[in-house]
């Protein structure tokens, strides 16, 4: 069972609709005690980094999530969720991230319009045996900051500079684009990522 971390007023409806479409069981949890006993934790984020950190602390996730991950619980961060899983963000210079994915999130640009808001192509930098090569697939992005890619980064996109589109470090996955808003390719990628994290749909997916 997938657990969607409800922090602040994060909008989870579209992600829930995507999981329903794909046939995955899921539940919302405002605090770690409400999480399913096993299965991936999804940390979806939009809005300011600081506000999300405060909301995670208020719900108790800030301290429990790293412990759950250390115990082998898979975690998928989407959008701002990727930034929260990283070590920190320039958006909040004095604040740290959860540290499950190495690196500091930095501002995009200069020389491009911000935020990066729209559809951009994603390409593979490093192959993974269980993930498809995106082959310049279009995905939807909405962000002003991003993780700089390293040799470990699986997929990258570009806005002013290359940035990390997909990180997979052990059982921690970070996705900068929003798969739940990236049409049929986004749904396929979401299903593949969840399969990578050991989660299978209860029924055959309705998306090719």
């Amino acid at each position: 069972m997938i657990t969607l971390i409800q922090h602040g007023d994060q909008p989870l409806n579209t992600l829930e609709g995507a999981l329903d479409q794909l046939g995955f069981d899921h539940r919302r949890a405002v605090a770690p005690g409400g999480a399913a006993l096993d299965g991936p934790l999804i940390l979806l984020g939009a809005g300011p980094f600081d506000a999300a950190c405060a909301a995670l602390k208020a719900g108790g996730w800030w301290w429990d999530l790293p412990q759950m991950a250390a115990a082998g619980r898979p975690v998928l961060g989407i959008g701002l969720g990727l930034h929260l899983l990283a070590e920190g963000s320039e958006e909040s210079p004095r604040g740290a991230g959860l540290g499950l994915i190495p690196g500091i999130v930095r501002s995009l640009g200069p020389g491009v319009k911000l935020p990066h808001d729209g559809w951009s192509q994603v390409r593979q930098q490093r192959a993974h045996p269980r993930l498809p090569d995106p082959r310049d697939a279009w995905m939807y992005f909405q962000h002003g900051h991003a993780l700089e890619p390293t040799s470990e980064t699986l997929q990258i996109a570009h806005h002013g500079r290359p940035f990390s589109a997909l990180e997979l470090r052990g059982q921690a996955v970070g996705l900068q684009a929003h798969p739940e808003k990236s049409g049929s390719y986004g749904l396929v990628l979401l299903a593949k990522l969840l399969a990578c994290l050991g989660e299978q749909p209860r029924a055959r997916a309705g998306v090719n």
């Binding site: 994060q10 809005g47 911000l114 935020p115 559809w119 951009s120 192509q121 279009w138 749904l187």
Partner: protein
């Protein structure tokens, strides 16, 4: 590269679009290839709005925004929490209300732009530059046909994305070539696929 966006506008009156549920019109537009949908709501009650927004959010796997006569920041927060990726507010004064709270990219301002011999373009551009300083995610602009080329050439240098209301594909292609980032047009004018085909024929880079 960020694809230029084609954004059909759906007018919502009392929670309905031309007698149908918003979710039905939105799904049709997604299947036609729309990159995003802009709902413009007039009338209707607050609870009804949240209900149809949530229904759309669960069924639509592309981004959507809501332009509405928001009375206070809480109404904006409710719309975002229900699943609208962005809220569009009618002027800079409204945008100033609470944009930083929601985060860059989630609040857009809609502006009517008119060039006047007395003010020239400097006054217009100063107004638009304020968008970035306010931390807004961009603007939805309306302008007269005579002003489109000049406006777009100048908005290419603005720090935030610009969506232009334009019902004419030929003018839209010119505006996009001159620096606009997307076109919002009335959904009943033609299908998103037809609008995109006309733009693509004019050499506009689009998501396929």
């Amino acid at each position: 590269m960020v694809a230029k966006r084609v954004v059909p506008i759906l007018q919502v009156h009392g929670g309905r679009i031309a007698g149908a549920a918003p979710v039905d019109g939105a799904r049709r537009l997604e299947l036609e290839g729309a990159d995003e949908i802009l709902f413009v709501e007039q009338g209707g009650d607050r609870a009804g709005r949240i209900a149809w927004l949530a229904e759309v959010a669960r069924a639509l796997f592309i981004p959507f925004a809501l332009e509405a006569p928001f009375q206070d920041p809480e109404e904006m927060a409710e719309a975002l929490a229900a699943g609208a990726g962005r809220v569009v507010v009618p002027d800079l004064d409204a945008a100033r209300m609470d944009a930083p709270r929601f985060g860059r990219a989630r609040v857009l301002a809609t502006l009517d732009v008119a060039w006047s011999p007395a003010e020239g373009w400097d006054a217009v551009l100063a107004r638009l530059m304020e968008l970035g300083q306010l931390g807004l995610g961009g603007a939805v602009l309306s302008a007269g046909v005579q002003e489109l080329d000049d406006l777009c050439a100048r908005t290419a240098r603005l720090p935030v994305p610009i969506l232009l209301r334009c019902a004419d594909p030929t003018l839209a292609a010119e505006a996009l070539a001159h620096g606009a980032d997307g076109i919002a047009y009335p959904a009943d004018l033609m299908t998103a696929a037809e609008f995109k085909a006309l733009l693509s024929g004019a050499g506009v880079p689009l998501r396929r």
